[in-house]
Structures are given as C-alpha cells and as structure tokens.
Amino acid sequence: MIILIGLNHKTAPLAVRERLFAGCEDAKTLLPEFLAIEGVAETLFLATCNRVEVIAVIEDNPETIDKLKTTLMKKGGLTDGEASCLYIYRDDKAIKHLFRVTSSLDSLVMGETQILGQAKDAYRQALAQNATGVALNRLMHRAFRAAKRVRTETGIAANPVSVSFAAVELAKKIFGTLTGKKILIVGAGEMAELTGTHLVGNGAEEITVANRSQAQAAALAEKFHGRAVGLEALDDALAHADIVISSTGAPSYIITEDMLRQALRKRKNPLLFLIDIAVPRDIDPAAGEIENVYLYNIDNLQDIVDENVKMRRREALKAEKIVDEEVAQYSNWLKELEAVPTIVSLRTKAEKIVRTELEKAQGWMTGMENGDREKIEALVQGIVNKILHAPVAVMKEESAEFSAQDIVAAARQLFRLDE
C-alpha cells in the first residue's frame, strides 16, 4: 500500500515546521533510515519550509506505519503533543494529496511553481539513492504530469497574485515590451525595490533612484547598477523615465500634475506608467487624467491581485477535477500491479510445464509429419491457455477493487508459485 505522512503550513505552526525541516535536510542519511524500517519497500520525502511529506510503499501493517511516524518525529524532535500536526493518508488519499501538492493546490500561494521544482529535486535524490521502485517511480511521473496538466489546462497560474507582479503585467499591457524601458524609483522602499527587480527581470533597463537620503539612494541604485539622484533632480528624472515607482514616506504629494505635464513635454515616448505604492500617496491623483499617463495606486494594484486570487480559486475547481482523473488512472494501474506479478509467474510456470512435456514427447513424436506435430503443440497450448484464462481474469477483476490480495495469495498457494 501507499502511505503518506507529513505536515504542512495548515496543520503545523512555523516553529514545528522549522524543526522538522532542519532535521530532514540530509537525504543521504534519512532515506536509508526509512528504508531500513521493516515493511518499507520504496520511499521518498519532500521537505520545504512549508511542508514535510514522506511517501512510502509499505506492507499493510500498523507497526510499519507507526515506525515511520516515530522516525519522522524523532528527526524533528516532535513531542507527542505535536504529533497531532502530522497527517497520515493511505492509498487513494495519499496519491491525491501528493498530486494536489505538486499541482500547487495545497500551497500557501495557489498556483505557484516552486513546489514542482522541489518535488522534482526530492525525486531525483530518491532516485540517486535507489530508494524508489516501480510504484513510486510511476507515482512521481504521474504527479508531475498532473501538475503540468493543471498548469496548462487551467488558468491557475495565469494571472499574478502579488502586487509587484501585477505591476509588471500592467507595464506589459501599456508598453508591449519592457525592453529598453527606463525606470525611476522614488524613495528607497522595499516594495519599490521588489517591483523594480521584477521589471528588470522582464527587460527594463536604466534604473534611476531618487531619494531624500542620497546614501540610501546610492545603495539601492548600486543593486541595479543604476544611478542615484537627490529629490531636487526629480523633474529631470521624470522627463527621462517610462515607469515611475514611488514609495516615499512624504506626507504630501511629491509628484504633482504640473511636474508631470512639464516632464511629458520634454519626452519622446509618450506613454508613462506611474505606480504609487506609498501611503499617504506620493503622486497627485489628478495626474491620472493626463493624456497617455497611467496611474495606479496601491489600492488599484491590491484590487487586481484580489481579483486574480478569486480567479485562481475558481480555476482550482477545474484543477481538482484533473487531479481526481489522474488519481483514478494511477490507482487503477497500481491495483492491477498487485495481481500482475502473480499472473506473470502463473503464465511462466504453465509455459515451462508445456515445454517440458513436449520435450518428453519428442521420442514418440519423431515419426510424425511436421504439420501434425505443430497441430499437437498448438492443441496443448490452447488447452493450457483456456485453463489459465479464468483465474487470470478473476485476479484482474478483483485487483481493480483492491481486494485481490486473498485471491492472489490463494492462487500462489494452489499453483505452488512460491516454490
């Protein structure tokens, strides 16, 4: 059976997650430790700052589960009281949980892509340690496939859900391409820096930082290989910028409508994108009325983000359906897997018997014509196939409902397959 033990940001407080994450960092020692537990056939674990998940293929017995759980708890130094943070999922529920995790349906920010990369790393590590087998290999491939389907078939990751990325998307809708666009950051705030970073990541060039404190401006400008100026040079800087991000602590407007009108007169490129993330506002709202000027304040951006979050939630419903489909497919395959080795050995055994008996018959069959001998061989083969057909079919049918174990065991005993 497949089992998944773990905790995440929903079930465990940060303090617990931190401890467990720190304890699980070393895959080299951890994977062999799990594999050494009696009844564990395959295993893999995923540890990130938001979650730790141990997935294993085990024999169905409570002791194995218990041992897995205590080993994991020991790693993070979890007390018995903290054990309630852990969840244990079996079979279909475990598969579903894993698929939801890789599809980022279980993430703090739904639709983020980091988790998929982390899951791929975890799988690579387990592969390197030979900790996985047929069942887990396919499970992980299916988990990645589910994640890919969710990303391409739903809009879950389509629209940005952070203010800085929303600003980038807007900038693209205004300018088309950000390549070569000039950015002016007014005030050396963290939010402005983050937005600037994303804009540069999308092709923007030439960053100018204007700040009351020259030293702070210089420090931020250096990060972007940009230029630092004092607030007194703001007029000139405005005339050269395409995108202005303002986040000063100034009590009143520091960029007025007049300043912008004058700056626009000196510009070649007409479009100007103003992002005002300061509270109280830095840019006179009247500036938004100016032709070819697009002004967004923090509330506008937050509204866009909220709307996108809502949309992701709607898309998540579609994603859940995809996950369910993928779970059903994998689970069917897995259930058949239970019976498959037995069916294979049953067929091999029968094949062997046929061959031995035909060899024994070589003596009295030598006098026969070739055609007749082939007919006899085909007849024998046919009879064996007919006899095996029913048990094989029953095993397959039963395994589709996860109840093949008894029948498979009976078949192994009846045909003495384990000898």
Partner: protein, 276 residues
C-alpha cells in the same frame, strides 16, 4: 479542364475561410480566449493564400492583370487587407486586431461575390498597367489607413480600460498600447507614400487617356481630400510628435468622416469611378 471553374472554386473556398476566421475572431473576443484568435489567424492566412490563387487564376482567364473585372477588384481589397494584417502579425503579437480585420476581409469578399466575374472594369481599349497600378497602390494605401484607424480604435478601448485603474480580462485580451501605437505609426508611414504614388499614377493615366491631369470627378476630389487629411495626420505624428491617445483618437475621427463623405459622394454623384 475548365479554368473558369478553378477560379470559382478558389473564390468559394476563400469565401468560406474568410467567414470562418471572421467568426473565430469575434468569438474569441466573446469568450476572451487568445487561442481562438491564434487559430483564426491561421485560417485567415489560408483565406489569403486562396485569394492569391483566385486572383492569379482570374488574371489568367482574363489574359492579364489589366483586364480584371469588378469581382477581382474587391477580392484585391480583401487580399490587401489580409496581407497587411498578416505582415503586421510578424512584427507585433496583436492577434486581436483580427477582430477588426477579419470581418473587414469578409465584407470585401461578400461584396466581391456580388459582382460580375467576367467583364473588365476599365473601358474597352483603355486598359493599361498605369490604371492597374493606380488601383492597386491606392487600394493598399487605403487599407493601411483603415488599419491605422482600427489600431486607433483599439487603442482608445484599451486606454479607457487601463485608465479606470482596474485590469479586466478584456484588457488582458486587447493588445498593449505600445503595440497599437506602433501599428498606427507603421500604417501611416507606409500608407501615405503608397496612396501618393497611386494618385499620381491615376493622374498620369488621366493625362494619357483624357489629356487632362485633373478631372473634377467627385471621387477624385474625395480621394484628394483623404490624401491631404492623412498627410496632415502623418505630419502631426512625425513633425509635432503626436503619439498615443491623441493620434489614436484623431485617426478614428478622420476615418469616420472620410467614410461618411465617401458614402455621400457615392449616393449623390455619378462618377468615372463608378465601380468602387
């Protein structure tokens, strides 16, 4: 094999694809999916190829491009609209512009379908390459101005969406302001010289045929006004640096005015250019 049938088949297929792509574009606007617009672009490319094949077949049947009839003339309108749009698709990713161009192409094809296929538009014995060139250049020039105005209309839509401080799915679907402004610029820049050359070719043709450079034909006057107006637009853009919203708005207003006067001219006056 009867070659006139081939011509007809090409035209019918082009008609079908043009209708399909126009529907696709409009539908993509309705369901707000760019994918549909992308597919429609490919369908339009197919319609364009078929129109090309149709024009060639028609020219072969008429023994030369100078003898083409009214149907081919309107097919050429559709052809150039398709061509200009598809070329722009290489430069910018503005598939949604097709929501304007697709129906326009279809409109021209529909008009073409209503025209006689056979007889030539030019008076018997007066066919010449100068006249054909005059028509072709003027048509492509006019189409470019139409496109400049379409881009302007979309600019105005996107502008008002973005100015509202919200970011709707409609806004996501429409091309960016920068791209639309660039299209407006490119179309004016290419359209003006083409129309100029077309008008000059027409004047020369008139000089040869009627020994008169200037006929006070209402449509000639209208074309001259259109030419002047677009010259002014281009001047504002290049010399005065008008860009963005103002240019977009002006393009649209000018286009609507010209369309209106054209319809008036068409309804109220008889002209040498009765075929358009």
């Amino acid at each position: 094999m009867n070659f006139e049938n081939v011509e007809l088949i090409f035209f019918a297929l082009a008609f079908f694809l043009a209708a399909l792509s126009a529907a696709g574009y409009l539908f993509s606007l309705l369901v707000k999916r760019v994918m549909l617009a992308k597919i429609s672009t490919w369908i339009l490319a197919g319609a364009f190829l078929l129109l090309t094949a149709y024009l060639i077949a028609a020219a072969i049947n008429a023994h030369g491009f100078t003898n083409l009839g009214p149907r081919a003339l309107f097919a050429f309108y559709a052809w150039s609209a398709g061509a200009v749009y598809l070329v722009l698709q290489f430069k910018t990713k503005t598939r949604l512009l097709g929501a304007f161009i697709g129906p326009l192409v279809l409109l021209f094809v529909i008009i073409a379908a209503g025209q006689e296929a056979g007889k030539t538009i030019l008076p018997e014995g007066l066919q010449s390459w100068l006249a054909t060139g005059h028509l072709a250049l003027s048509i492509v020039g006019e189409i470019l101005f139409v496109l400049a105005s379409c881009a302007g209309a979309m600019f105005i839509m996107q502008n008002s969406l973005l100015k509202s401080g919200k970011f709707t799915s409609m806004s996501r679907l429409l091309p960016s302001l920068g791209d639309l402004d660039r299209i407006n610029h490119l179309c004016l820049l290419c359209g003006f010289p083409l129309l100029t050359t077309g008008i000059i070719a027409g004047a020369f043709y008139a000089a040869f045929v009627w020994e008169n450079l200037w006929t006070s034909d209402p449509k000639v006057i209208w074309s001259f006004i259109a030419w002047l107006v677009y010259g002014v637009l281009l001047h504002q853009r290049l010399a005065l640096g008008w860009k963005g919203f103002r240019m977009a708005a002006l393009s649209c207003i000018v286009f609507l005015l010209l369309l209106l006067t054209y319809i008036l001219v068409k309804l109220c006056f008889s002209s040498l250019h009765n075929f358009v």
